[in-house]
């Protein structure tokens, strides 16, 4: 039982050490400004928006879900 208490402490300590190491590693990251990140996100949207069928609808004949005709299986 005496060792039990020491083990609990050492387990918490190793957990706390891991948390500190993790935070140190995260702190070292190279970050970019939000303005740059935002303009990149916008550029991606802009480059792909015309091919986005839910924004720029393709003719109904090309979207199998919007097509009026129904499929029937012949038994």
């Amino acid at each position: 039982m005496k060792d039990g208490i020491a083990n609990n402490s050492t387990a918490s300590i190793s957990q706390a050490r891991k948390a500190v190491e993790q935070l140190k590693m995260e702190a070292c990251m190279d970050r970019i400004k939000v303005s740059k990140a935002a303009s990149d996100l916008m550029a991606y949207c802009d480059a792909h928006i015309r091919e986005d069928p839910l924004i720029v609808p393709v003719p109904a004949s090309e979207n199998p879900f919007r097509e009026k005709k129904f499929f029937c299986t012949i038994l």
Binding site: N8, I32, A37, V58
Partner: protein
């Protein structure tokens, strides 16, 4: 002096297990405690306190660094972007056949087949064009919370309260009993919350109520890598688009979204801005950001290179949790399935809601956009799936 030290040990450990330590401390008072052990105990506690302070300091430093680069808001930069027009999206197909709450669904790469799983243990493969059921399997457990289609389209993976992820090869022979060929791949110590094949049929990534994520080899069932770091149940995961490399994001009940390196098992980035469980995470199509949906009734966008939250999608009138999120093909729209039975459609750049869709008669529990972006599918506690376009 000895007695004082012993009392210190008792009080510092009390919160953990009162009864246990109280009886132990009485034992200490009766039998002699070595001075070395007592000093060691005090030292350990001091080290722990020191580490906790260091941890808090590092967290503040991290926030400071992140704040330095916060020069503008996404929606401000997006003011010059053209607004989106009116949306006419409605239910084009309703898939009926589940006997209970639909919990999860996934699209096949062929853009027409869908696998769905439900509370009653049934996993069904549908042809979404015709609404026909192509395969059905009954799992040995209820609450099949996770299901995924293999990239080849030849198998599906699923799991839930059985704590496992199993793979079922799909046979062309509709009469064949799928359950016979079932292969158990993943084993967790609590429920399976999500699963996804990687770029091939050979590996599966899982997340679990046991607080971990894991990467498995399908053929051998071997654990290839495990991911520890969440402090509570992990509820969701999403793999980065293949062009951006070997990472994935996970979200959990600890309100954290973690980004992981699949090869090393390391957590590379962590985000903690939600106020409740994160039920769904999904990468932005470029791989530079991801969205999350939470029980706090908000969806949020996190940019990975800026290392911070860059948008919150919320309204005062929306008070129910978000169960699932996904982007349209260009990343301009974010679809969110909510516990108030609705789907809210958000303009990702401007931060505004562009549409609200009604139809389900109970919670929307799962939502995925089709691989070619022509439609999205929702699953609900009302036992049905709907295809919207």
């Amino acid at each position: 002096q000895k007695v004082l030290v012993e009392l210190k040990i008792t009080f510092s450990q009390c919160s953990k297990n009162e009864r246990n330590y109280k009886t132990t401390s009485r034992k200490y008072m009766r039998s002699p405690l070595s001075p070395e052990m007592a000093t060691q105990e005090v030292q350990l506690n001091e080290t722990l306190a020191h580490l906790k302070t260091e941890s808090e300091n590092l967290k503040s430093k991290l926030e400071e660094e992140r704040a330095k680069l916060h020069d503008v808001e996404l929606h401000q930069v997006a003011e010059k972007v053209e607004g989106l027009g009116q949306f006419i999206m409605k239910t084009r197909r309703t898939l009926k056949g589940h006997g209970n709450k639909v919990l999860c669904m996934d699209w096949c790469k062929d853009k027409r087949r869908i696998v769905s799983s439900s509370q009653d243990g049934k996993v069904i493969v549908w042809d979404a064009f015709t609404t026909n059921k192509e395969h059905a399997v009954t799992m040995p457990c209820t609450w099949v919370m996770a299901c995924a289609y293999a990239p080849s389209g030849c198998a599906v993976a699923c799991g839930g309260l059985d704590n496992k992820c199993s793979v079922y090869p799909l046979s062309l022979d509709k009469n064949e009993n799928l359950a016979a060929k079932k292969k158990s791949v993943a084993m967790h110590t609590n429920y399976l919350s999500a699963c996804s094949f990687t770029n091939s049929d050979m590996q599966i990534l899982t997340s679990s109520g046991d607080g971990t994520c894991a990467l498995w080899d399908v053929e051998s069932g071997q654990l290839l890598q495990s991911f520890h770091g969440h402090a509570a149940d992990v509820l969701c995961l999403d793999l980065a688009p293949s062009e951006t490399g070997n990472t994935f994001v996970s979200g959990g009940c600890d309100k954290k979204a973690n980004v992981w390196d699949m090869r090393s098992g390391q957590c590379i980035q962590s985000f903690e801005t939600h106020e409740s469980d994160i039920n769904s995470v999904r990468y932005y199509p470029s791989g530079d950001a991801f969205a999350s949906g939470s029980d706090d009734a908000t969806c949020r966008l996190y940019d990975l290179r800026a290392d911070r939250e860059v948008a919150i999608y919320s309204k005062e009138s929306i008070i129910f949790g978000v169960s699932s999120v996904d982007f349209s093909l260009s990343g301009r729209l974010l679809f969110g399935g909510y516990n108030d039975y609705t789907i809210n459609v958000w303009d990702v750049l401007k931060g505004t809601r562009v549409s609200i869709l009604f139809g389900h008669e109970n919670r929307v529990s799962t939502l995925r956009v089709s691989p070619d972006g022509t439609a999205f599918c929702t699953g609900s506690w009302d036992h049905t799936l709907r295809i919207w376009a």
